[in-house]
């Protein structure tokens, strides 16, 4: 990544779009202090971002998340909640929010892909974080699973959470995001609303506008 300048506003849903290998996951990993940028800085509420901020204020759902299969959903979430100083009532409410109340006593290895994603989202919400970062949250899900996850993201946003997620499924981004950013070859090539992108590229659909933005950078 290089020459990257991006600002996420408090309380918005921001979608990061890009082709495979564009640098979406790398950017998210930098945001989570999992990798250190060679130069440049990341700020959170005006101060340089530290791993303490991540542990207190950020919830994260990675792409292709696969939790311990030999634990039940309830065990997994309860042990994590206990470690994070949260009470078990919170765990039950998260299961309800994620629509997993009936499956919480099943072993995670028996969960479907959609259920695992929803469990991952519950993990991301355990600390009641201000910022939720999701890497391709709907990847591999059927249309029902996708719509459930997107519905959850909207609900979270209504609760005042800032949601930042990466995807290459344009229709989903169009449905839920306030603003979008397009990343290509490690550079941010567009930041704004979908309407602004359509107007800028003079196109009727987001897909055409996205491809046109990418091609203009090639």
């Amino acid at each position: 990544m290089q020459g990257l300048n991006l600002q996420i506003r408090q309380g918005e849903i921001f979608g990061l779009l890009g082709l495979n290998g564009a640098g979406k996951t790398t950017l998210l990993r930098c945001l989570l202090c999992l990798i250190k940028p060679n130069f440049g800085e990341i700020f959170f509420k005006g101060d340089a971002l530290r791993s303490d901020d991540i542990q207190k204020n950020f919830g994260f759902l990675p792409e292709n998340f696969q939790p311990y299969g030999n634990l039940t959903g309830k065990e997994f979430l309860r042990i994590l909640a206990w470690g994070l100083g949260q009470n078990f009532a919170k765990v039950d409410s998260l299961f309800e929010q994620a629509g997993l109340s009936e499956q919480k006593d099943k072993y995670i290895k028996a969960y479907s892909r959609g259920m695992i994603q929803r469990l991952g989202l519950a993990v991301a919400l355990l600390k009641n974080p201000e910022v939720i970062i999701l890497d391709e949250p709907t990847l591999g899900l059927d249309p029902l699973g996708q719509s459930q996850i997107l519905g959850l993201l909207k609900d979270l946003n209504q609760q005042g959470k800032t949601v930042f997620f990466s995807s290459h499924i344009l229709s989903q981004v169009e449905k839920v995001c306030w603003r979008i950013g397009i990343i290509h070859c490690g550079r941010i090539v567009f930041v704004g609303t979908t309407e602004e992108l359509l107007k800028k590229q003079n196109r009727a659909s987001l897909e055409e506008a996205f491809l046109s933005t990418i091609k203009s950078q090639a």
Binding site: Q55, G83, G120
Partner: protein, 253 residues
Amino acid sequence: MRKIASVALLNFKQAIRDRIFLGVIFFFVFFLAFCALLGKLSPGETGKVLRNAGLAGIELSALILVVFSLTFSFYREKDSRMLEIYLSNFSRTAYISGKLGGYLLISVFYLALSAIGYILLLCFYGAFLWQPIIGLYPLFLKLSIIVGFCLVFSCLFSSPVIALLSSLSLYFASETAYPALKVIGLEAGEVKVFLFKCLYYLLPNMNKLDIKSLAIYGRLPELSFFLLISLYSFGYILFLWLIARFIFTRREY
């Protein structure tokens, strides 16, 4: 502390329900049956053979369990993105400490479980002595050191196979370092002996942690010996934890 305990408990629960754990239990049961056969083939020495082979079986199966289970779980967590979940919630130090704690807990649990099988076998053949059961404590210390080495190698290498082979090689090197030093002392020159002595002191002194040969005859070293080996082992584990932490906090995932 809660964060460390949380990582430890998650690792413990996942590992004791894993196929590796169940496989090792199976292996141990077969080994006990083999011990019983060996005992029958050694008339007059049945009790001693049962006690000795049983302890050796516990050591071998526990070694396989901790080395395979820890190494594979470490890399599986990277592949399954569990590591990212941990690191977005807990500090890297808490993760490494939790991993170490979890696998020490697994060692204790497995030793307790295998001790039950061992005691039952000895009682069945009328060969029970309580001293070999005390002999499981130095075995736990040995396993703890190996857990520490597995952690260091898993943090250091990006391939689980290399980490696994390094851990096993180190175990066998430290087990054979003392007799090798004796042999080299007889034949080699001063420089070679000095170099080998340096290596010997760097490796964990597993030879001193082995009291099998006394315990099977119903004898035990003095209490001060147990205090000394406990101090030595915990010091060594602390040293390994520091190395693992140093590597892990500097790596990018």
